[in-house]
């Protein structure tokens, strides 16, 4: 078990607090685009959290996972927006 400095744990806790605020918006949102905005923000925050976890444990594999997660979540956001627009794929 590698030692993690406590400053990174505090930063990860604050990022998780922000994710919880976004989850509240996802459950409350009056319309469907509100929920999609919440999911898009959660995706970006998860990417940043993976970067912070990668530097906290000094391992590069989390940062590679963050790159792939960024590109895949972008594709999913575009497809959900296309679906809301009512167009055919």
């Amino acid at each position: 078990m590698m030692e993690i400095e406590s400053i990174y744990l505090i930063i990860l806790g604050l990022l998780i607090l922000s994710i919880v605020l976004c989850i509240i918006r996802v459950f409350k949102g009056p319309t469907a685009p509100d929920r999609v905005v919440g999911l898009d923000t959660i995706n970006t925050l998860v990417i940043v959290g993976m970067l912070v976890f990668g530097i906290a444990t000094r391992s590069v594999i989390y940062i590679d996972v963050a790159i792939v997660y960024a590109l895949l979540s972008y594709i999913s956001t575009l497809f959900i927006a296309k679906y809301l627009e009512g167009g055919e794929f």
Partner: protein
Amino acid sequence: MISEIVEIIVYILLAIGVFFNLLAGVGLLRFPDVYTRLHAGTKCTTFGSIFICGSIVLLGLKMWYLGDSDGSVLVIHTIGALIAILVTNPTGAHAIARAAHRSGVKPFGAVVDDLEGKPARKSAPKKKEAGR
């Protein structure tokens, strides 16, 4: 000596980045309609991500300077992740805003819609709009 200065700069950059990411969450919860929530949720997270990635790049450069060869790999991959965030985040926000307007969501307190009739409606032919 130089290691302590780099540590202090890294902590300041991390604090700025986390502050803007928290503002994104608060703004997403407090703003009244879709477009203002998009404004808060996308721009604040992009700005905060730039600062957090900058702090990680500085830490990787310090590791590389002190003789750890993992530092260079960390710097290059973090810059790749930052470029992925910077390209994909505003594009996704634009797609969501266009989809929200075309599916009929009005801005909060709006009286006149200046874009009325300009984008494609559901009855309009789709093939003509696909090239734009």
